[in-house]
């Protein structure tokens, strides 16, 4: 289908982009690569009156490294991460996940920040970056604030990001050399949105034992501590109100398979 009519602006700076959002009070949407929003526009599921393009803004492509973390600009693409063109503080988790997002033609344009802000519960970064313990920085006329990826989603396609805020970067903590991770997803077809996602991260030097169950109806379920370890205590899953037995089975399976891969 063709999208409903919308207007398009490509502001010259981040400040101008934020000002446009504030001016349009929730009727505007930010667009970077448009690889998730595009389908929703074409299917007329999303009908914003204005799209604010940010893909061209150089400040959203910055990459900064510190002793404890790497901060990646929101407009870095999945393909850049897949190809190792961006420093990876996770011992391979980021490129592993990136390569399995949709298809190469999508990864060439789709961005890490766009995927998070779009907040599809089945999208890979929503789960993988919660597993990695990452946070995002959002910018508004009131300044900057940080939100943990694990707490970003309020529900499907709903985040804590305000209507006049733009997600500008993602900060991913460095894992130690002894860290081990696994990431397993069930897709009915290669590249399709996941039916269920399971991830496990164990980093003894940083005291991390964490598991993530994603592609739920909303935010990923993050299990910390002993609940996250092989033979996972899945009680937390049932506490999260997943009552469809088919879905439960899939979540149990991805979690078990992710845990088995860590143990192996």
């Amino acid at each position: 289908m063709k999208p409903a009519p919308f207007d398009y602006e490509a502001p010259r700076s981040l400040e101008a982009a934020i000002a446009l959002l504030a001016q349009h009070q929730g009727l505007a949407r930010v667009i970077a690569g448009g690889q998730s929003l595009g389908p929703m526009l074409n299917l007329r599921i999303a009908q914003p009156s204005l799209l604010v393009g940010i893909r061209h803004l150089p400040e959203l492509r910055d990459v900064r490294q510190t002793a404890d973390a790497v901060t990646i600009g929101a407009c870095i693409t999945h393909a850049e991460i897949e190809d190792g063109r961006i420093p990876d503080p996770t011992g391979g988790l980021l490129p592993y996940v990136a390569r399995r997002i949709a298809y190469r033609a999508i990864r060439n344009r789709g961005t890490i920040g766009g995927s998070l802000a779009h907040a599809d519960p089945s999208a890979d970064w929503v789960s993988a970056l919660a597993l990695a313990g990452a946070h995002v920085t959002v910018c508004s006329p009131r300044g900057e604030r940080q939100i943990a990826v694990a707490k970003l989603l309020l529900g499907a396609f709903e985040t804590q990001i305000g209507t006049d805020e733009i997600l500008v970067s993602v900060t991913i903590p460095r894992l130690s050399a002894r860290a081990r991770w696994s990431y397993y997803k069930i897709c009915r077809k290669t590249g399709e949105f996941a039916e269920a996602i399971g991830g496990v991260l164990v980093d003894p030097d940083n005291g991390i034992r964490r598991a993530v169950v994603g592609a739920t109806a909303g935010a990923p379920i993050v299990l910390e501590g002993n609940a996250a370890l092989p033979g996972c205590d899945v009680a937390a899953l049932w506490a999260a109100n997943i009552d469809d037995p088919y879905k439960r089975q899939m979540f149990e399976v991805v979690l078990r398979r992710a845990a088995d891969r860590i143990a192996a």
Binding site: P5, Y8, G34, G38, N42, R55, A102, R104, I106, R109
Partner: protein
């Protein structure tokens, strides 16, 4: 209407477009470059795959107005490309198409595989083709055609 400047197959193009116009429709209906096919219109089938700034991209979920300054190459712009000539011959020899609807997008993806993954095995080629749907061939001929080009370029 928005004015957009881009290069299409090496030629500078300036046009006024409605912001909602898909790049695929712009190429087909305004520039009459009908080699780019439109299938699912939500980024899944790969029929509309073109090259933007040297990389394969979906022209159905990319809007023309957002291509300011971009260099777009369609299947028409790859006529004289040596790898594409090679792929066309291999596609014919290996029966890598029947109806041909997916073929323009398939060829753009195939060219990317040949350039980016010279050591790809058949499993990787299939994985890379997962974003281009073909409902005629069952992919056997397409994988063989790409294999042939990969192997010939090595020897």
């Amino acid at each position: 209407m928005k004015t957009v400047n881009m290069k299409v197959n090496g030629q500078p193009v300036t046009a006024a477009v409605e912001p909602r116009m898909q790049l695929a429709d712009f190429l087909r209906e305004q520039l009459r470059l009908t080699g780019t096919h439109v299938g699912c219109e939500h980024g899944v089938c790969g029929a509309c795959t073109v090259e933007i700034d040297g990389m394969p991209a979906r022209s159905c979920i990319t809007y023309a107005a957002m291509c300011e300054g971009a260099e777009v190459r369609t299947i028409e712009g790859l006529v004289d490309d040596p790898i594409m000539s090679h792929l066309r011959e291999a596609f014919a020899a290996e029966h890598a198409l029947q109806c041909g609807y997916c073929t323009p997008g398939m060829l753009v993806t195939a060219r990317d595989i040949v350039l980016r993954l010279p050591d790809a095995d058949d499993a990787r080629v299939r994985e890379e083709l997962s974003g281009n749907l073909c409902r005629c061939t069952g992919y056997v001929g397409i994988v063989r055609a790409i294999r042939r080009v990969l192997d010939e370029r090595k020897s």
